[in-house]
């Protein structure tokens, strides 16, 4: 015998998922019209008139500076780590070669 609670849960689920059910009865919002910049870029010769007070030049400069700092910093970081490990490897190998003990 199927428990009544299970039957009730299945019935509720069917009501909610039914195509004409109350859960889907709400109107879906109309799809937003895609702007030109979403579908493809349109080039122009002159800068468009600014509508926002946020200066674009500053944002572009920050973005490019951030990229340079991150990439340069990462290369320096790899280089320093590599030099440190190679120095240690050389030092340990030399100690082993001379018969000494490693710390």
């Amino acid at each position: 015998m199927i428990p009544k609670t299970t039957v009730a849960c299945v019935a509720l689920l069917l009501v909610l998922l039914w195509p004409g059910g109350p859960a889907l009865a709400q109107q879906q919002p109309p799809p937003a019209q895609p702007s030109a910049a979403q579908e493809g870029f349109v080039p122009v010769d002159q800068l468009p008139k600014p509508q926002d007070t946020m200066p674009a030049a500053r944002l572009v400069a920050i973005a490019y500076a951030f990229v340079w700092v991150m990439l340069f910093g990462y290369v320096v970081s790899i280089w320093r780590r590599l030099s440190s490990v190679e120095r240690e490897l050389e030092s340990v190998s030399r100690r082993i070669g001379s018969g000494g003990r490693t710390p």
Partner: protein
């Protein structure tokens, strides 16, 4: 690769010096204006990040099935690069969005899935650092999961409604914009190959050092 390293580094450096001039000469976009210039670094770095996630995932899969330490070393190097490139994408994107959309961040499919992708590779690196014995195999599983996430991030803009430009933007770029874009992509790809090589070498040297210490203890 060792013989090619210096010439490729010189080529990459020259390309990075020349890239800003190409970007400056590129036409402005009609609705976004100057801020759209961020695209020439943001999108190629995003594509390089996807490539890096694939390198990490494939390296991890090879390591899981064959136990080749070389594949694991490449995977570690690629995971770190994916995380670094991911930070750049997640910072330059909002700088562009602030002007183009009027907001720094939008919890839409592309931005959120990109953040999740970055978090997966951060989880990989944390596992490798603090996971203890056996974490290499566990992290390899995480990397495969991260790689599987890449197509979802890529297609998310076409499937869900979002403010982010669609994938159709790059193939439909006009010649004035196409040149600088692919030039930057090539520069970042060369940079990626060089740093991946360096970072893999670091892992190899670390393994050698560990082997030397183990040998002296015995």
């Amino acid at each position: 690769m060792n013989k090619l390293f210096v010439p490729l580094a010189v080529v990459a450096a020259a390309m990075f010096v020349y890239a800003p001039f190409m970007i400056l000469a590129a036409p402005y976009e009609s609705t976004m204006g100057l801020v759209q210039k961020i695209f020439y670094f943001h999108a190629p770095i995003g594509m390089t990040m996807f490539m890096s996630a694939f390198v990490c995932g494939i390296g991890s899969a090879i390591f899981l099935f064959t136990r080749r330490p070389g594949a694991d070393r490449v995977a570690v190097a690629a995971a770190e690069l994916t995380a670094i490139l991911g930070i750049i994408v997640l910072v330059t994107g909002p700088l562009w969005a602030r002007k183009a959309w009027g907001v720094w961040w939008e919890w839409d499919a592309r931005l959120t899935s990109s953040l999740v992708l970055w978090l997966i590779f951060e989880a990989y690196l944390l596992l490798r650092r603090y996971g203890g014995p056996g974490s290499d195999r566990l992290a390899a599983g995480v990397a495969i999961f991260g790689m599987a996430n890449v197509p979802f991030v890529y297609w998310s803009v076409n499937v869900w409604r979002t403010m982010h430009p669609k994938t159709s933007v790059v193939p439909t770029l006009l010649p004035g914009m196409r040149g600088p874009f692919w030039f930057c992509f090539l520069a970042f790809t060369i940079f990626y190959v060089l740093t991946l090589h360096l970072r893999t070498r670091l892992e190899k040297r670390r393994a050698e050092l560990e082997a030397v210490y183990l040998a002296t203890e015995e």
